[in-house]
Each structure stands twice: as C-alpha cells, then as structure tokens.
Assembly symmetry: D2
Homo-oligomer: 166 residues x 4
C-alpha cells in the first residue's frame, strides 16, 4: 500500500493571526502569504493534501458572504476530510455556519501567535487539525489549546487566551 | 464547564531524536532533558496533562525489559488517553508490545529532526498525537508523516524518511 | 587573564521593532519586555555587560526629551563601550543627538523584523553592534543591513527596507 | 553613494558545528550544506559579499594542507575584508596559520550550537565577524563568546564552552 491509498485532505486558508507578517515599511502587521504550506513541509507531511488559499482576512472582518463562500467551497470539494485555518476571534461563528455540511469531517484551527514567530502554537494546532480530520467522525471540530472540541460546544476566552468547552 | 471536565492525558517520554541536544564539549549529539513540556507550553495547551519522563534512549537501544516497563506504566496509569514519545526506528515494534492494553487510546509519535531545531516536525507530530488520543477509539496509533496510522499496520521507510501504511 | 579584564559594555534599550510582541487579546503588536537579554544568552555571551532598559517606544514617538535622556544616560555611565537598541525609523536622528559625547564608542542597532520571529535580523545586528563597540574608535556608529556605518553618514531607505551610506 | 561603494567582503566556509545537520537515516549529525548564505539573507545583508564554500570538515580533522589552502585562498582573493567560518576546537590553530597574511582583516567565527537550532549563537557570531572585518585593522581576529579577540591571544575553554583571552 502506498500513500495514494490515504484519504486526501483539503486545507482551506482564510487568514487570521496564524498568517500575520510584520511589514516594516508600514510599521504594522498584516496577513500575508499563507504559512500553511511551509508548516506542512517542515512537518514532513507525506499524506496527500491540497491547499486552497481562499481569503486573507482577520476573522473579525469576515462577513456572512465570506462564510457562505467557505461553506460552499468545502461542500463542493471532492475531499471528505477538511482542515480550515481561521482567525480565532470568530472561529466558533464560522463553525456554526458549517454545521449543515453532511458526510464530511471539518476541523477549524488557528493560532494565538503568528506562525512566523519562533514560539508559536501554529504547528501544534495544525497537527491537531490534520489528525482530527482523519480520526474523528463527520461534523465540525475545533482544535485549539490542546483540546479537540465539538465545534458547536466551545468558546474563546479572549482575556485568558484560550478556548474552553461550553 | 471548565478544563477540569476535559479527559486528562498521560504523556510518557522515552527519548529518541525528538529530544536530542548537541553537546559541544563532546562534539556529539545525545538525548537530553525532554523538550515535550516546552513544546506543550509553546502550544499554549490548556488541556490537563501529566508528563512521565520514563527513559532517555535511542529507540535502537530499547530492550524487551524497556518495552515491558513502558506497557506496565501505561496499563497501570489512571489516564485513558496516552501519548508516548519515542524514537522512530523501532516505534512500530513498541506499538506491537502495547497492543494488548485494553480500554485505552495510546498514540506514539516522535520526530525525524530534533525539537531543538528551528525546522522540526516535532510540534506538528506531538499535536497530531494529542488530538488522536482524544478523538480516536481504543487501540494503538502512530502519528507521523502527517497521517494517523493504525499502529499495527505501518512501517518506517528509513531511506525515504517517512512512515507508510503496510 | 579572565573575562574580568575585558572592557564592560553598556547596553541601553529604547524599544523599536526589535522588541515587538503580538498581543492576541488586543489583536495588535506592541513593544514588550525587551528580548536583548535573551538574545545575549542565546549567543552565549561571556563578555561582561550591563543592560539598562530605558524606555519602550516606537522610534517615531521619541521626543527631544527622550533623546536628551538617552544622551545623558550614556554620557554619565562608567562604560566606554555602548550598544543602543532603537527603532529604525529615526535611528539616524538619535545618532546625531549623540555626536557630542566624547571618548566613547556608541553603536546603534535595531531590527526590521521582531526578535521574536523565527527569521529576524535582530541577533545578527546585535552581534555587529557588540563587535563594533569593541573594535571601532570613539564616535557614533550604526550597524544595520550588514554594514558598519558612520552614524552621521547613513540614511534608511524605508521602501527598500535597508540602510545606505549618504 | 550606493552599496557599490561599500568594501566587498569575502566569506570562506570550512565546516564546523555551525553547519551541522541531523541525518535521521544515519542517526547522526554531519556537516551539510552551509547555512551561511541563509543566515546572511535572514539578516537582510545589503553589504556586498561573496561566499566560497571551501571545505566541509570538523575542525579536529583539518590538516596542515587544509590550512595552507585556506591561507592561499584568502591571500589571493581580491577582497581585503574576510570572514572565515570554522569549527571551534582548532580555530586558534588556524588563526596562527593566517598570521602572516598582510594588509587584510581576517575574522574567524563559528558556533557552539548548529545554526539549524532554534537557539544558536551562529547569527550573533557571524554578525560580530561581519562587523569586525569592517571596523578592525589588518590582522587576524576571532569573534566568539561576545568578544572581539586578537586571534593570537585567545583560547577555547572546552569544558566551559567559551573563548577566553590568553
């Protein structure tokens, strides 16, 4: 058996802190080229996957139209296993917008510190999402703060900097 | 609901490349203080866990007695969710030695590059193991190369530097 | 001879991009606890030094009073070898404000990417400053973009992201 | 004035810990493709330089012939400012072999931890060497442990992991 037999994973990126870069000429941070492909390369991932860089937004700026587009992209894709990278502030709202997708395991993750930082939760969280979309049943999940959460039963405690079960 | 309601995870470390450090005074690399706690801190893990640093060995040096000790440590622990960090060369052999443990989800992982490297698969693989021990059923699993493998149906291709399904 | 015979170095920190941290709860970057001590520890510096964390400002916010304070701190210190970490946008303006200090070698440096990034110019630039304050004569110097510049004959090309000789 | 007016720097690499990589298939570390170009890119060096990757050796394996080749390479190069990356164990021996080169500023540096580590002294030491070859007079210098040493008046204390003045 070869890796061709492993179920392919769709990775959809939407922006968020995980992809923030610092632009000295502007003295500010903005979402830049996605770091997801680099993280998967560093992790030496041999599992088949496909990346769709759908948008580059802070999750506080995501609109209903954006969420409709995200849901349609996932629903119409051939892959049954999906990872969605996303800003953390409205991650649970997007999870609810994906609740009606049937027959697919969709896992949302992001990071509290940009992947470009030497010390970031990005690689760990992405690893959790990659594993959960393979080992959990159909539905929407969130992998943050070291836990696999039901995507409809979790909240972010912004002051504490972590996700907690509802 | 608080994190106290989340199922606690036992993390057992045994050494391997993931924990290798460079010692200039010896001009050689050796397994050193485990990096697992540092990796979980960087990942901002809020999920309850307990680390047992059981041994510091290259996996090629592990004996049958070592594997018996690993199995007993896991079988007798109160936690039902277990992550085992391990050198990659004999990881599948240890997986077989744990196959008879009942009612527990045990996930083995390691790294092809030391966690102390700037570019290592350590954090991603550990994230996969943390997620799999929460979302997969009882049994023995291996999370390497981006895949969640049945621990009894996987092999390492040493020359290619990756794990493949049997 | 021991390290006690090496000339002690004063390191004054004022903030700037080099010390920027990301604060998820605010969704913004701010200057935080200085990374200079961590950088010197990672560099295994055995040379005697003393750090004075004087202010935490973006260099665009520095006032004439701030520059007077910086100059007085350096002029009155017992050390003859001084490194000054500083935001890059007004680094040359501060260099001019230090031009009248006599008998001391003062070297300004900063970074275009925060020291907390995995890929930053911070350690290299700080290393250049540490060396220049030991090997160059009295005066004001700037070590950025791989060059040792006369502090009065250099400008920052903000769009190009580098320092150039005047 | 442009960067074309800055004095060009020759960087000669010879191997050493700074360039060590981990090879999982061999379970050992070996000197690999030099990291020096990557370090200079990360440091955003705009100063003109040229890299000659002369050899890939642990400095304990360097022979008299190797040192003759290093000296000839430097003596015959058009650049007057030279950085030499080198293993630390016999760095002072090579410094003595270069003492007769006239009219050039030659700076040796290396690292106690490989440049591929997240926490390494490589970038800082290389920055020190880059600055010293511009700001110090002709002769042979060593930049390690945060100090600019006269290359003929320094020793490595291997157990302590640092360089000290003689």
């Amino acid at each position: 058996m070869t890796t061709a037999k492993l179920p392919p994973i769709l990775v959809v990126t939407t922006g968020g802190t995980i992809d923030k870069q610092y632009f000295d000429a502007l003295s500010e941070y903005q979402i830049a080229e996605s770091m997801i492909e680099k993280l998967l390369e560093t992790a030496r991932v041999a599992h088949p996957f496909r990346i769709v860089e759908l948008m580059r937004k802070d999750s506080l700026e995501l609109t209903d139209e954006d969420r409709t587009l995200i849901a349609a992209t996932i629903a119409n894709a051939p892959e049954r296993h999906v990872v969605l990278t996303h800003g953390t502030d409205t991650m649970t709202e997007t999870a609810r917008a994906l609740a009606d997708i049937e027959g697919k395991t969709v896992v949302l993750c992001g990071a509290l510190a940009p992947a470009r930082f030497a010390e970031s939760d990005a690689a760990f969280n992405l690893g959790m999402a990659f594993a959960t979309c393979q080992s959990a049943g159909p539905g929407v999940w969130i992998t943050m703060s070291g836990s696999v959460f039901d995507g409809l039963k979790v909240r972010k405690d912004r002051a504490a900097g972590k996700f907690l079960p509802l």
